[in-house]
Symmetry: C2
Subunit: 196 residues, 2 copies
DNA sequence: ATCCTTCGTTCAAACGTTTGATCAGTTTTA
DNA sequence: TAAAACTGATCAAACGTTTGAACGAAGGAT
């Protein structure tokens, strides 16, 4: 076998378990069992259950970091916002656990919140704020809008749609086939809201 | 002492504890200690820890129910939406734990999710949908908008602002003094988005 | 070539602690 | 005095972590 299948298996098995039940909702025996690995391997490789949880969160949020590529692009400000929206949606689709981890940490923070989640969220919000400032200085956007409220409104429209899925699945069509429609809808509202 | 101070104290003490750490993050001893009550009182009054949790959630979501008063009012559709927004914001201010409980259940559902949280959320979404349908039939609103996406966008703008507070407190002014500005901002974006 | 040691990895077993729940008994209330 | 409210002690089960032994691979030393 390759070097440390244990480590890999543990993280892979831990992702859906931690996402569904939270740090305190899963036992080390359940984690080890799901990974097909001896339970002491958790302490051996990660120093304990919290270490495994931190490793999972680190891996999950590494995916989020690549939003910065969009910020550097030399395109229209509104197009940039649309790219953010598209990137977020496709991220949630390819990784259905990401949103769970970060809302779980927002409501029931663990030790990882200050070290991993909070900096990651602040970075995204700051990125959106800078893009909005670009649009403002380009005289494209209304200057009577509060910038933070505006970018949080955009973020809220996207994130809340996915957050609410477990409760509204019977009421709203959340299928990926409708994502394009959702993106256009959000950008429609947002554009009418911010343009001069 | 009055009849069953125990029961009252337990719920009062359990609200912030469960909200901060979730069902599995708090022990019965911690709950009883915070309430200044013998630990066996939890089983005596609520049949166990989960029973206390269910009682807390029931109490929390009873507050939510009064949104229906707004639906029955005979006022302009857009004003009705603004009242929803105002009611939600003032609810989150007077009860800072409500949002935590319901997002916690959305990400890490317990037995209460199907019985309490999901029906409550569905009821709110349905209410918003009906109001939007009123606006549609009154030819006030654009008829090319997906109704569910529209009402979820409105809900997302409000809820996400409060959900993100622990992470963005240093970046965004979340003080209650700014609530009026927030409400106007959200209604501004929403109005421009949906009006014909 | 053979032996011995060391290393990283894995294992079953046991560790001490904490968990949620229960019970017999006592106090309070009506 | 009977019912309701409450207490402290105790329970088995589950918790996360640690332990010491076992394993194959790798590297010198003889």
């Amino acid at each position: 076998m390759a070097e440390s299948d244990c480590r890999k298996n543990l993280i892979a098995a831990a992702v859906p378990l931690f996402a569904a039940k939270g740090l305190n909702g899963v036992s080390v025996r359940e984690l080890a069992g799901a990974a097909g690995v001896n339970l002491s391997m958790i302490s051996y490789y990660f120093g304990g259950k919290e270490g495994l949880y931190a490793a999972v969160l680190t891996e999950q949020f590494a995916i989020l970091g690549k939003l910065e590529e969009i910020e550097q692009m030399e395109i229209d400000t509104l197009q940039k916002f649309e790219l953010y929206v598209r990137a977020t949606v496709s991220r949630y689709r390819s990784n259905p656990y990401l949103l769970r981890f970060y809302t779980s940490e927002l409501t029931n923070p663990t030790a990882c919140f200050e070290t991993i989640i909070k900096p990651a969220i602040k970075r995204v919000v700051q990125m959106l704020l800078e893009t909005f400032a670009d649009g403002l200085s380009g005289r494209k956007f209304r200057d009577d809008l509060n910038p933070t409220d505006t970018v949080l409104a955009l973020a809220g429209m996207i994130n809340f749609y996915f957050l609410l899925e477990p409760a509204t699945a019977e009421l709203v069509d959340h299928s990926p086939e409708r994502d394009e429609q959702l993106i256009r809808h959000i950008m429609d509202i947002f554009t009418r809201g911010v343009l001069r």
